[in-house]
Symmetry: D3
Subunit: 86 residues, 6 copies
């Protein structure tokens, strides 16, 4: 009845359904410039999770996403910090 991760070792190898589906766990780290609104972040993780599950056939709660905001003076392209580009 409990839909939570309770049998990490259960026999559930039928195709990609059941147990494994729930435990197949893509983990994402996303780096982006700081400054995005909470709404955008919320929308982003939702959209990415949805797509991931659709493509890989896993349960949403198997998808973990960590956002890392990077300051513009900590990200460089072409040897120049983005804070210096303008």
């Amino acid at each position: 009845m409990k839909p939570r991760p309770r049998r990490p070792d259960a026999p559930a190898q039928r195709g990609n359904t059941g147990f494994y589906r729930r435990f197949f766990m893509p983990s994402m780290h996303i780096e982006l410039f700081e400054g995005r609104s909470p709404e955008k972040k919320r929308e982003l993780v939702q959209a990415l999770t949805e797509q991931t599950c659709k493509v890989l056939g896993c349960r949403p709660d198997a998808v973990h996403i960590i956002l890392t905001e990077v300051r513009k003076d900590h990200w460089a392209t072409g040897g120049v910090l983005w804070s210096d580009k303008s």
Copy 2:
């Protein structure tokens, strides 16, 4: 005319359009169990890029994704390697 990355330092701060849109560059690292087909991976990066651009308003070629396949004997949950779960 081509809206390509040619002026990483151009004055283009109007809203979130133009220059910045192109250079806003989310970078993603995705860890997943090994074993997914090339088609699934192809589909995954396409879908994630599409959603990211839709939500954040950036150009597709600003989105970088690196997939890392993790062996089941290198990923543990609950102190047990996935290769030992069965």
Copy 3:
């Protein structure tokens, strides 16, 4: 009264048990030279998970560990690849 992160969404405020305990999820990435035996890896993830739970008060299955084996010709200290040290 408890100053700890206690309501990720659930009614699980008793001490550090229940829902949160299960979902508080430290995630570890460990890089080590390749060459360790499966037994050592197994032992390592078990020991680290155990200690983490003991210290942080979380459930074992909330702890995720990913091991990354690094080749000696891909790890440098002092500007010298470990494969070249000898």
Copy 4:
């Protein structure tokens, strides 16, 4: 005369002692929700280092750990930010 790492595999192959022991260097990155006390962090890195050395047979000062605190509005599971779970 040169005080640089010049013998990472110098004659120290007896078991796992000597030089190599000192230089075998597991590196850990740990992501956890923000909010843990300095005491807990201190205790955590000590316990993890101890266990790692015990299992892998390396010297404590070869173990590097970096903690990354993740805000609840930057960590999502199931497509929902932890800050939104409640």
Copy 5:
């Protein structure tokens, strides 16, 4: 006329020149203690980019660097946080 990234799929496999050169894209993450001045960071990313291009033969704007400042109470060596060393 401008040799900029405009054909990520163009036929440009001659040696390591032309297209590929521009798209070969090393990505660096550098963790360092907090406290370095903006000037030092600026100088660092410039120097590293320059060297990378010189060695790998890629265009500067193909090199991405992200700096991560780590607090001394979040970095441990030998099981002791650097903030506790003193």
Copy 6:
């Protein structure tokens, strides 16, 4: 007598010399397409270490670099795997 990291707290705050210099430890992770020769990698880590020490004023053996080779079918830009670009 022992040349190992034994005084992480030694009084060495004069400028950036002495103990701290040795222990200030930038850590780098570099992702690049697979296919570079051992010579190039050797040259790269040497050049990057040298520059880092020059800019940050640290000892070479305080600089750790880990190279990660990424397969072209695991790296996507613009939603397209590099293995599919041609």
